[in-house]
């Protein structure tokens, strides 16, 4: 906690008077700054209270309940803007306090806020600020600070200020009694001077020693709680996971393009050149055989590249989207497949790809294990959930616990928080449901 910050008292005698004085003065300066922030903190509280009264006033007026008396004039957006500005100001102030506490109090106070919304807009900003529990803890800090801050940072500063007043003011002919809160002290002349000196020394001694405690209080309210730390972490993980998935999908698309325009095109061009040579060459059969062999190799290479591309990024999926790509799959399947789609738009590319490979696996499973049968594939999207059902009237008995196929699908979907449900009693029918939360575009 505050263990790192007792830099003061340790071996003052050994280090001489100047470092001690410097530390004391620094402590005083830091306490003075925190005292100023304490005063600045009262601003947003007043503003928010005013804004709430303002809104209340307006509601009353609209409801016809307000009968005369002074009005707080308002336009509809007024309170909203005041609250938004106050909260932003509060955040700025809290962040400044955190930074200074990190530097001066020897505590580490990290920001507990949720990440800002990607889109702009006052309403969104306001929601972001108001729904974050850290905002309310910031407000609580203002209240607690009024007490803890007074005790821990204002008192030492006040001691020094009054000390100076007691020691100096009488000497220049100003009566001490004119200062507020000092009526209780009646000492005069040299007595006042002594009290003043004592106050100065005590204030300077106290200031750096109270700062670590102030830092602890700040961390308690301004630092992240376990819950907020976790929720920030979860939000970050969700974002980075989706970024990673998107980047991966974009990369696969790029590889597919590069192969199409690069290696595949070059192989075709090379093959055409070989064919042209073959046409113009009047060579002996051995040479022609070699040429034919070379052409054969390029055809094989093209076919291997095609299989590779089909495995990582099926072109028909990129061209036509999920439903048509599944139609293409169905045409290649020995099963009679019926497809129904109620999708108006396309899911994100990585989701399309995951679903495509999942359906491909399910159709392959059905034609391998279910015996001759028909299959029905149904696409729906409602409530931000993409639902695909794949049914066949085959023998049934598919078990997700065994068989790596279903497991693989489950893993693929899990990357999108998607789930797989299988119902496959012996004798059939087999019903597989896929659900993936996503928006269509």
């Amino acid at each position: 906690m505050s263990g790192t910050a007792s830099p003061v008292a340790a071996s003052a005698s050994r280090r001489g008077l100047w470092p001690v004085a410097r530390q004391s003065l620094a402590g005083l300066w830091h306490s003075l700054t925190f005292s100023a922030l304490l005063l600045l903190g009262l601003g947003p509280v007043l503003a928010v209270v005013t804004a709430i009264l303002w809104t209340w006033d307006e509601i009353m007026m609209l409801a016809g309940l307000r009968m005369g008396g002074p009005y707080l004039t308002s336009t509809g957006a007024g309170p909203v803007v005041v609250i938004l500005c106050s909260l932003l100001y509060l955040r700025w102030l809290a962040n400044l306090t955190r930074r200074l506490a990190n530097r001066w109090c020897g505590t580490l106070v990290r920001q507990p806020y949720r990440p800002a919304p990607q889109q702009s807009g006052i309403r969104r900003q306001l929601r972001w600020l108001v729904t974050d529990p850290a905002t309310w803890r910031d407000l609580l800090w203002l209240t607690v600070n009024a007490v803890a801050g007074t005790l821990l940072v204002v008192v030492p500063v006040a001691m020094v200020v009054y000390g100076i007043a007691f020691a100096v003011l009488p000497a220049v002919g100003v009566p001490v009694a004119h200062l507020p809160y000092v009526g209780i002290i009646t000492a005069k002349g040299p007595g006042a001077g002594l009290i003043g000196l004592a106050l100065i020394v005590a204030g300077l001694w106290l200031a750096p020693r109270l700062l670590p405690s102030y830092g602890s209080v700040a961390r308690l309210l301004l630092g992240p709680t376990r819950g907020s730390e976790l929720s920030v972490q979860v939000e970050r993980l969700v974002r980075t996971r989706s970024d990673t998935i998107d980047a991966g999908a974009a990369e696969l698309r790029r590889i597919e393009r590069d192969l199409h325009d690069g290696a595949q095109a070059r192989l075709v061009a090379m093959g055409m050149t070989l064919d042209a040579i073959d046409r113009q060459l009047d060579a002996d059969p051995a040479v022609r055989a070699l040429l034919a062999e070379a052409k054969d190799s390029s055809v094989k290479a093209l076919s291997e590249l095609r299989d590779l591309v089909r495995g990582i990024h099926p072109p028909v999926l990129a061209d036509r989207g999920l439903v048509d790509a599944v139609r293409a799959l169905a045409l290649d399947s020995p099963l009679r497949v019926h497809i129904a789609s109620e999708l108006h738009g396309r899911p994100p590319a990585p989701v399309e790809s995951a679903v495509y490979f999942a359906v491909s696996e399910l159709l392959a499973n059905a034609s391998k294990h279910a015996g001759p049968c028909e299959a029905w594939i149904d696409f729906r999207h409602s409530g931000a959930m993409l639902r695909i059902s794949v049914t066949d009237d085959g023998r049934g008995g598919a078990d997700p616990e065994h068989g790596t196929g279903l497991r693989g699908i489950e893993k693929r979907l899990a990357a999108f928080d998607g789930v797989l449900a299988v119902s496959s009693p012996p004798g059939g029918p087999t019903l597989v449901n896929l659900e993936i939360p996503c928006e269509l575009s």
Binding site: V268, L274, V299, L331, S333
Partner: protein, 214 residues
């Protein structure tokens, strides 16, 4: 024979032009986009258009759509679609019009210049050229069909070549049998599949594909 080519990669546009010219075709235009294809086809009225599936600006199935659009503008314009990969889905869309003059081949096929030129001529004269890979996938997806399963291996071979759009003569060449033997096989196939026999090569292809593509 006059040809318009639409292919966005220079390397292949150039290669195709040279290949076709070497086989006696006249390339009237070699364009890069689907839009330019339409313009060139309307201006040149070629005997056949050779179109790459993937064209700018979308780099998806732009070429396929441009080819179908060109056929709407110039009905029965023979179109040969080339692609780095083939899909039954696209073959079905190309054949949906029900008329001939359609080709759908893997780009790999241009490596055999003579056969490719043959396919171009076949399409230009209203015939069909389906890629062997489309056909083999078509046959594989009919593995459960009892009538197809009942065919002999030789008959299935003949069926595949017929679906590719080959004439009896070409099938005979390929399988090294007589044309008379091929005719016997085709008659048997049509009977077993319950199709009306036809001497017209093109109608025969469409009937076979329609049967397999149900």
């Amino acid at each position: 024979m006059r040809v318009v080519i639409a292919e966005d990669l220079f390397l292949l546009r150039d290669g195709l032009t040279r290949l076709l010219e070497a086989h006696g075709f006249e390339v009237t235009a070699a364009v890069e986009t689907g839009e330019d294809l339409l313009t060139a086809v309307l201006a040149d009225k070629p005997d056949v258009a050779i179109v790459d599936v993937r064209l700018p600006p979308t780099f998806t199935d732009e070429g396929l759509r441009a080819a179908l659009a060109a056929r709407r503008e110039l009905p029965d314009l023979p179109v040969l679609v080339l692609s780095q990969y083939v899909e039954q889905l696209y073959a079905r869309e190309l054949l949906a019009g029900g008329s001939g003059g359609i080709g759908y081949l893997l780009k790999d096929r241009v490596l055999d210049g003579a056969q490719f030129a043959d396919a171009v001529r076949r399409v230009a004269s209203g015939g069909t050229a389906m890629d062997p890979e489309v056909v083999s996938r078509l046959l594989a997806s009919n593995a459960g069909d009892s009538a197809v399963a009942a065919l002999s291996p030789r008959e299935r071979e003949v069926l595949g070549l017929m679906a590719e759009g080959r004439s009896n003569w070409a099938i005979a060449q390929q399988l090294v049998i007589t044309e008379r033997a091929v005719a016997k096989h085709t008659a048997s196939i049509f009977m077993r599949l319950g199709l009306q026999p036809s001497d017209d090569d093109n109608r025969r292809v469409l009937a076979v594909i329609a049967y397999l593509d149900r």
